[in-house]
């Protein structure tokens, strides 16, 4: 009989791959009996849906110095305009 720790790992695995039948059955049995793991399984599916529907922005921005470095790198690469 799986405990919640094992069951939640399998529930996570199952989102990304087809589990062997024995694991699938023991997970299904655990989920039938355990409300908390049922919730966990639903929540990580929901995370997948939200992630797919959201433009993730962690708020990272280039500093002015970094922009200047990028600009000069691009200018160095530019071929001689006369040629």
């Amino acid at each position: 009989m799986l405990n919640c720790h094992e069951a939640s790992q399998l529930a996570s695995d199952q989102l990304d791959e087809r589990l062997p039948v024995a694991k699938r059955l023991s997970l299904a049995l655990h989920l039938l009996l355990c409300r908390h793991c049922r919730r966990f399984a639903r929540q990580i599916k929901r995370l997948r849906q939200i992630a797919a529907a959201t433009k993730i922005d962690i708020g990272a921005q280039l500093s002015d110095e970094a922009k200047a470095r990028l600009r000069s790198a691009l200018q160095r690469r530019r071929p001689d305009p006369s040629g």
Binding site: N3, C4, H5, E6, S8, Q9, S12, D13, D16, E17, H36, C37, R39, F40, R42, Q43, I44, R46, L47, R48, I50, A51, A52, A53, T54, K55, I56, D57, I58, G59, A60, Q61, L62, A66, K67, R69, L70, R71, A73, L74, Q75, R77, R78, P79, P81
Partner: protein, 197 residues
């Protein structure tokens, strides 16, 4: 001060490309979590783009087509840089400790997952998206990147393992820890037992 000069003619390619630098950097930072590596990825991408446009005289219908093309180049640079980084990140222990803390010695939940109501309105959906964005921002690598590659970029697991040089077992553990942490973080942001949506 140089912008004026560039706009006059032969610098227009750079101006065009630089307009996307911030977005590319945000993309790279979300996945690499290292400002030096992220800047390197952006620079390599812009230089590759400049070279390609000069030799092929690529014509893009608009800025969004250009952005898509640049992001495609960046994606590969990020994976290359991340592959080298993943074996040196030292936070596996940290995330392992977080996993252990979620369960008691019998493997039962210490903090039981709560009931998440189904968001009805678009506003609520957006709020969950904002919270998830924050939670991903607070997540360390490799968990953050592996979650993003899987759930946002939609890269197949086998491809992620190959690209990053990690075993399927390692991949499963990293992704599981990411989900445990994000689930918990969402509840701390008010989605769950004690919060309201």
């Amino acid at each position: 001060m140089q912008d004026k000069e560039e706009e006059r003619g032969d610098g227009s390619e750079e101006v065009d490309l630089m307009a996307h630098a911030d977005a590319l950097y945000a993309y790279a930072m979300a996945r690499l979590r290292d400002s030096v590596l992220a800047e390197e990825a952006v620079q390599e991408t812009l230089l590759a783009a400049l070279t390609a446009r000069q030799s092929q005289s690529n014509n893009f219908q608009g800025q969004s087509a250009l952005r898509t093309w640049l992001t495609g180049i960046l994606k590969h640079k990020v994976v290359d840089l991340f592959r080298n980084q993943i074996h040196t990140v030292a936070n596996d222990d940290l995330q392992g400790a977080f996993e252990q803390a979620q369960f008691d010695s019998n493997g039962h939940w210490r903090l039981k997952p709560g009931h998440w109501p189904t968001p009805e309105a678009a506003v609520e959906q957006r709020e969950m998206g904002v919270a998830l964005s924050r939670c991903i921002g607070a997540l360390a690598n490799p968990a953050a990147s592996v979650f993003i590659f899987t759930e946002i970029d939609g890269v197949p697991p086998r491809e992620i393992c190959n690209n990053l040089g990690i075993s399927p077992t390692n991949y499963r553990v990293i992704l599981y820890r990411a989900r445990l942490a994000l689930r918990r973080c969402m509840e701390q942001h008010g989605f769950g037992p004690n919060g309201e949506l």
